[in-house]
C-alpha cells in the first residue's frame, strides 16, 4: 500500500461535483494546507476552461453533432460523450440526450440502477447510460483532471473521501462505492454530506470551535443542495474531559432543492407573462429560470431593492425586437419562496402526502410537499428521543414534542439568500419558544458552496490523526423479514416478522454478532428477503424479533438476495444459515450468509434492480 500524499475530498453532487485536497505532508494539527482543485472541462465546442465545479451532467452527442477535434480534453482524450459545462449547455437545448440527476436515480428504489435507463425517454438510437455508469463518468473525468495536474500522485492512490447524502440507503452507498472502485480508487471512504459541512465549519474555525459549542448541544445541519434536502443531528458529548461530536440522527431522502425554487419563480413570472398575452417556449423558460436565479439572489440579499428586472432574450439574432422584459418583485419572491418553501408551520406539522396516480410516468420521486419547514418538523418530531441515552443530555426536556436543537449549521448555495436563513431560524425558534426552550444559535463561517468538498478533504486528514472526528456509525438499525412459523391459512400470507441483524450506530470496520435465528437458503436458487431499516429504534440488538410495527418507525428498503452456489450440494436442498452484518472501512453495509456448519460465507446482495 503506497503512502497517500493528499487527502482528497470529492463532493459528487446532484448538480455539481467539487474537488478539494489537503496536503498531508505539509499539514500539521490545525495548520491545514488545503486547496480547491480547478477542473478543466469543455465549456464550448473546442474550448477548455478550468472551473471550480464540474456540472454533473452527461451529454450523449449525435455522431454528426460536433467535430471530433472540438472534443479534445487537456489530457488528450477525445471523449465520445461529454461531461460538465458543455454537456449542461447542449443538454438544455437537446434534453433527449442529456443525463442529469444521476445521483437521485442511484437512490431510486423503483428502477434498475445498473440498467441503461438514462436519459429517461431517450429515443432508441441514443446509447443510454445507467445511473451507475453516469456516476462513473463523473469520477473518471475528475480522476483524469487530477492526474493531469498531479502526474506523480495519481488520484487512485490518494486517500479519497467521497460524500453521499446522509439519507442514502445501504444500496445507494454500495453503488457509489462500486463507481469509485470502477475508477480504481484504492483508499476510499464515504462520508455523509451534512457531516462534511460540519467538518468544514470546524476547520474554518481552527481550534476555536470548542469555544462555540458545549456539552449538551445538539447541532442541526440543514444541507439544501441543488436537488436534495439532507438533515442531520449532531450531539456534543464529553469523553475524558474533551468535547466529542456524535451524529445521532439523519433525515429521509427528500428530493427538494435549490433548483425547485428557481423553477418555482420562473413559473410565477411565466404566469404573469401569460396574463399579458406573452407565452414562452421551453428554451425561453430555461432562460427565464436562469434570470430568476440571479434576480432571487439580488432580492434576498439586498432588502432595499423592491423589484429586479428579468429579461428573456429572443432566441433569434434579432435581440432587441424579440426580447421580453418583465420584473420580479419582492412580494413575488416572498410569496413563492419564503411562504412556499419555508412557511410558518407548527412543530406538529407533517409533509402532505398525495396519493400517486396509478399511471405515473417513470420519473424521480420528487418530494410532494415543497415546504422544507414541514419536512424539518417531521424529522425533529420523529427524532424526539434521539438523545435519551446520551450522557450529558439528562436535562433535555422530558415533555418535548420534538427534539430541541441548540445550534444550526446551514449548507448549500440556496442559503446565500440570507432571508431564507432568517426565516428558517424564525420558524425553529417559534417551535422552541412554544416549549419554553432557548432559541438556537447560528454556526457561521463555512463556505456554502464548497463546504462539503472541503470538509471531506479535511475529514481524510482528521482520520489520519490530524484533528477531531465526528462519531457516527450507521444511522439506522437493519432488519430482515422472516416468515413466522404457523400453519398455512388459505388466502392469508404468513405474517412477517422483522429480525434485527444490525443494531443502530455500528461503526466503520465493525461486525455485528451472528443472530441466533437461522433462515433457510435454497441451494442453486436466488432467495430474496425483505429488508427494513429504522432510524428511531436505537435499542434493538442483533436477534431482536419484531412482531408488528408502525410505518413511522420502520421503513421498507430494497430487498436483499442470496445465491447459494450448488458446489458440493444438492440443488434444491435447504441450507440453514445465519445472516451477519458488517460495516466496511469504506462505510458501506455488507451482509453475509453464514451456514451453521463449515467456515464458508456468501455475500448477500442488495437488489438494485427495482420493482418487478
Amino acid at each position: 500500500m503506497s503512502e497517500s500524499r493528499y487527502s482528497v475530498g470529492i463532493d459528487l453532487g446532484t448538480t455539481h461535483c467539487v474537488l478539494s485536497h489537503v496536503d498531508l505532508n505539509q499539514s500539521e494539527r490545525e495548520e491545514v494546507i488545503q486547496e480547491m482543485v480547478r477542473i478543466p472541462q469543455l465549456t464550448g465546442p473546442g474550448a477548455v476552461e478550468e472551473r471550480l465545479a464540474l456540472p454533473s451532467f452527461v451529454y450523449l452527442p449525435h455522431p454528426d453533432e460536433l467535430a471530433p477535434d472540438d472534443l479534445t480534453l487537456p489530457w488528450g482524450a477525445q471523449a465520445s460523450l461529454l461531461v460538465g459545462e458543455l454537456a449542461r449547455q447542449l443538454g438544455s437545448r437537446t434534453p433527449i440526450r442529456l443525463v442529469s440527476s444521476a445521483k437521485s436515480w442511484l437512490c431510486h428504489p423503483a428502477v434498475d440502477r445498473r440498467a441503461a435507463i438514462l436519459p429517461v425517454g431517450a429515443p432508441e438510437e441514443v446509447e443510454s447510460l445507467s445511473p451507475l455508469q453516469a456516476s462513473i463518468h463523473y469520477l473518471e473525468h475528475l480522476t483524469a483532471a487530477w492526474d493531469h495536474q498531479n502526474p506523480d500522485h495519481p488520484l487512485a492512490q490518494q486517500s479519497v473521501t467521497l460524500t453521499v447524502p446522509a439519507s442514502f440507503d445501504p444500496a445507494a452507498r454500495e453503488l457509489t462505492a462500486e463507481a469509485a472502485a470502477a475508477v480504481g480508487f484504492q483508499h476510499l471512504t464515504l462520508l455523509e454530506e451534512p457531516q462534511a459541512a460540519l467538518y468544514s465549519w470546524i476547520q474554518a474555525n481552527g481550534g476555536n470551535w470548542r469555544k462555540q459549542v458545549k456539552l449538551g448541544d445538539v447541532i442541526l445541519v440543514i444541507d439544501l443542495g441543488g436537488g436534495t434536502t439532507d438533515l442531520s443531528l449532531i450531539a456534543v458529548t464529553e469523553q475524558n474531559g474533551s468535547l466529542e461530536l456524535n451524529r445521532i440522527a439523519v433525515g429521509d431522502h427528500i428530493l427538494l432543492g435549490g433548483d425547485n425554487m428557481d423553477l418555482a419563480l420562473a413559473h410565477v413570472v411565466k404566469t404573469k407573462l401569460a396574463a399579458q398575452g406573452t407565452s414562452l417556449d421551453m428554451w425561453q423558460l430555461q432562460a427565464l429560470t436562469h434570470g430568476c436565479r440571479t434576480a432571487k439572489e439580488t432580492l434576498l440579499l439586498d432588502t432595499s431593492v423592491d423589484s429586479v428586472p428579468v429579461v428573456v432574450p429572443s432566441r433569434s439574432s434579432r435581440l432587441i425586437g424579440g426580447t421580453i422584459s418583465t420584473e420580479l418583485t419582492r412580494d413575488e419572491v416572498t410569496q413563492a419562496l419564503i411562504e412556499g418553501f419555508f412557511p410558518h408551520v407548527e412543530a406538529s406539522a407533517r409533509p402532505a402526502q398525495r396519493a400517486r396516480t396509478a399511471l405515473t410516468k417513470l420519473g424521480l420521486p420528487y418530494a410532494q410537499d415543497a415546504a422544507v419547514t414541514r419536512h424539518l418538523a417531521a424529522f425533529l418530531g420523529r427524532q424526539v428521543g434521539a438523545t435519551h441515552d446520551l450522557p450529558g443530555f439528562e436535562d433535555a426536556a422530558s415533555n418535548a414534542s420534538f427534539l430541541h436543537p441548540t445550534a444550526v449549521l446551514f449548507n448549500g448555495g440556496v442559503f446565500k439568500a440570507r432571508q431564507l436563513v432568517e426565516r428558517t431560524l424564525d420558524v425553529l425558534n417559534n417551535w422552541l419558544a412554544a416549549e419554553q426552550a432557548p432559541p438556537v444559535r447560528l454556526l457561521e463561517g463555512a463556505d456554502l458552496d464548497m463546504a462539503v468538498a472541503r470538509g471531506a478533504a479535511y475529514y481524510g486528514y482528521a482520520r489520519s490523526g490530524g484533528g477531531v472526528r465526528i462519531r457516527g456509525g450507521t444511522a439506522k438499525a437493519y432488519y430482515v423479514g422472516v416468515e413466522s412459523a404457523m400453519p398455512a391459512v388459505p388466502g392469508m400470507e404468513p405474517p412477517l416478522q422483522a429480525l434485527c441483524i444490525a443494531p443502530f450506530g455500528m461503526e466503520e470496520g465493525t461486525e455485528a454478532d451472528l443472530p441466533p435465528q437461522e433462515v433457510g437458503l435454497v441451494v442453486g436458487e436466488q432467495v430474496r428477503f425483505r429488508f427494513f431499516g429504522s432510524s428511531v429504534r436505537r435499542d434493538d440488538q442483533v436477534g431482536t424479533v419484531l412482531e408488528d410495527w408502525s410505518p413511522e418507525e420502520i421503513e421498507n428498503l430494497e430487498d436483499i438476495e442470496a445465491n447459494l452456489p450448488a458446489e458440493g450440494r444438492t440443488p434444491g436442498e435447504v441450507v440453514p444459515v445465519r445472516l451477519r452484518a458488517a460495516v466496511t472501512e469504506v462505510g458501506t453495509l455488507r451482509l453475509e450468509a453464514v451456514p451453521s456448519s463449515g467456515n464458508e460465507s456468501w455475500k448477500v446482495e442488495f437488489d438494485v434492480r427495482g420493482e418487478d
Binding site: G44, G46, V48, E49, D69, P313, L319, I320, T323, S325
Partner: protein, 181 residues
C-alpha cells in the same frame, strides 16, 4: 496558428498586387528573392534597424467575440439597427448584453487600476515614469517630475484566463447557426 487566415479572394487580390509590384518596383522584387517575405504590405519597406509593426493574431480576438456573443449576445446587439426601436426595447436588450458580457469579461479577466490614488487627487510623476501606463494631457511642457490631477485611474488586466482552444477549432464561427430538428 501563426499566419492570419486569408480567404481565397484576399489571396487572389494579394497575388495580383504582388505580381504588379514585382514587375514595377525593383526594390520589392529584390526583397522577394530574399529568404522571407516579412510583411504582406508592399508599400512598407522597413529597414532592419527600425522598429517593426507586428500583426496581432486574430484567434484571441475572435475567441473573445465568441465569448461575448455566447454569454451576452454582443454581436447580435451590435448588428442590429437600434434607430427603429424605443428606448425601453433597447434597454431590455441592453440588460442581457450588460449582464452577460460583464459575466464573460469578469470570468476571464481580472482588472486592477493602474494608479491606486483616488480620481481627482494630485500626484507627481517622477522622472522615468512609464509612459505606456500613464498618459499626459493638457499643459504638457517642461521636464519631469510632473505634477497633475488624476482624471482616470486607468485599468490594467492583472490576470487573463481565456479558455484553451483545441487544435483545428474554427474561431471565426462566433455563433453557430442553430437548426432545431
Amino acid at each position: 496558428m501563426s499566419e492570419p487566415n486569408l480567404s481565397f479572394l484576399n489571396r487572389l487580390v494579394l497575388a495580383f498586387s504582388a505580381f504588379w509590384q514585382i514587375l514595377t518596383n525593383t526594390e520589392f522584387a529584390v526583397r522577394m528573392t530574399g529568404p522571407q517575405l516579412s510583411a504582406p504590405e508592399p508599400t512598407a519597406t522597413p529597414a532592419p534597424s527600425k522598429p517593426v509593426l507586428q500583426e496581432t493574431l486574430p484567434d484571441s480576438a475572435l475567441q473573445l467575440l465568441g465569448l461575448l456573443q455566447q454569454e451576452g449576445r454582443f454581436v447580435d446587439f451590435l448588428q442590429e439597427d437600434v434607430s427603429q426601436f424605443s428606448d425601453a426595447e433597447i434597454g431590455g436588450a441592453a440588460r442581457v448584453v450588460h449582464e452577460g458580457c460583464r459575466k464573460a469579461v469578469h470570468e476571464h479577466f481580472k482588472f486592477e487600476p493602474v494608479r491606486e490614488e483616488a480620481e481627482g487627487a494630485r500626484l507627481t510623476l517622477a522622472e522615468g515614469f512609464d509612459a505606456a501606463s500613464v498618459r499626459l494631457t493638457g499643459n504638457v511642457v517642461g521636464s519631469p517630475p510632473f505634477t497633475g490631477t488624476l482624471k482616470h485611474h486607468g485599468w490594467r488586466v492583472a490576470e487573463i484566463n481565456l479558455p484553451k482552444l483545441t487544435q483545428g477549432h474554427e474561431v471565426r464561427i462566433v455563433a453557430p447557426a442553430e437548426v432545431e430538428l
